[in-house]
Symmetry: C2
Subunit: 233 residues, 2 copies
């Protein structure tokens, strides 16, 4: 059977050219690409090759097409790992227990780096989150602040890869075991325990002590994960 | 401007139906999907809706189309994270230093879980890798065995998410700093140091001691990363 060899090769060359422009900084986040017609003319290739290339780039998560506006290099890559993680979950290569394990591993990593790198401003942000939580009673609001607390620590690690993984993991936990989180938070004594654990983490970051930070995060996650596992099993 | 609202909704419903079948186990890894025509008839939707849905599923990394054979649920998801990680790299949201940091975090996680979960067969596999390395002199061969050594530990962690992340990280390190790895291995004393470190890791796994395993892995990665960083900067 004949397969369109030449066509694939041309579109791959178009993809390579765009990737090359990105890596050299000639194209950047949020930039609008020329129209299909313009690209076909400039690159001296068929419009179908351009379309094929654009499709490939969209599948890579590099560009997005906006109805009536054209094709753009994406500007936000924070959620890039959510879809592949969801796929792993959907296809049952992984389960809730593994997600919690991964979260453990990632958050111990982020807190260690954050203890070394956190700025005064970032510490103040986190402090404010804990102060706000102190006066809150709604489980829903507390759960939201909880996510922001952990996310801020990941940001303070200054490692985008760790942040992206934590984002994907948090979204999956939210999607798959949201009710369990509420079940944990609903017990009055748990709320107090978690507040105290968050404060311990904050103080370890404030003192820029990676070892103590790791231990404080471990304590916290061991507690939360144990409660979650009770509900999963 | 008019946008094809109904059409999008229909194709999304097709996507949802296929995802639902996956999550219920009515569709599984490697399964062949019915032809576009058959799906359109069974689902009572247009062929263009089916095509749109298939495209969406392909973008999610759930299905692959094979020339002349049709569409299949993918059977191998081990490499699913390589592309999004490459994209992060390409768009410069991340750099080689962050990759090494992520590797550190992930491998400390995998070795701790592996120490708890590794089987006698897996230990023997790893032992054989080290024995083979003992008699080798070629840097290229040693580098390959090195990757397998770390991969086997990740497998022994029995956590597919950690394995997938390590796969993506290793591929990126290979792609971006392969030469550096060779530069490290080329020094005769480095070879011996690394062999000793690998043996320490193996022995900690054999004794099923997570703490010692974590320390052994840390020692090893700190050494390798320091050497790598010298070459990056």
């Amino acid at each position: 059977m004949f397969t369109p060899i030449k066509n694939t090769t041309v579109s791959e060359k178009v993809v390579e050219q765009i990737k090359d422009m990105l890596s050299k900084g000639n194209l950047n986040k949020g930039d609008r690409l020329p129209s299909e017609r313009q690209m076909a003319e400039t690159l001296e290739v068929s419009r179908s090759s351009v379309r094929e290339a654009l499709r490939e780039l969209e599948m890579m998560g590099l560009i997005e097409s906006r109805q009536g506006e054209g094709n753009f290099i994406k500007s936000n890559f924070e959620d890039i790992l959510f879809e592949p993680f969801s796929t792993i979950f959907l296809i049952k290569e992984s389960n809730a227990k593994e997600i919690l394990e991964l979260r453990n591993v990632i958050e111990k990593g982020t807190v260690v780096l954050a203890a070394e790198r956190i700025t005064a401003d970032e510490l103040e942000d986190i402090r404010k989150i804990l102060d706000t939580a102190e006066d809150l009673d709604s489980e829903e609001e507390l759960a939201k602040l909880d996510i922001i607390f952990h996310y801020k620590i990941a940001q303070a690690s200054k490692n985008f890869l760790l942040q992206s993984i934590l984002n994907a993991v948090s979204s999956l936990i939210e999607a798959s075991i949201k009710d369990i989180r509420k079940n944990i938070m609903i017990k009055e004594e748990h709320k107090e325990i978690i507040k105290k654990q968050h404060l311990d983490i904050y103080e370890s970051l404030e003192s820029h002590n990676p070892k103590i930070a790791e231990r404080a995060m471990s304590n916290h996650l061991d507690f939360v994960n144990n409660e979650m596992k009770k509900s999963i099993i």
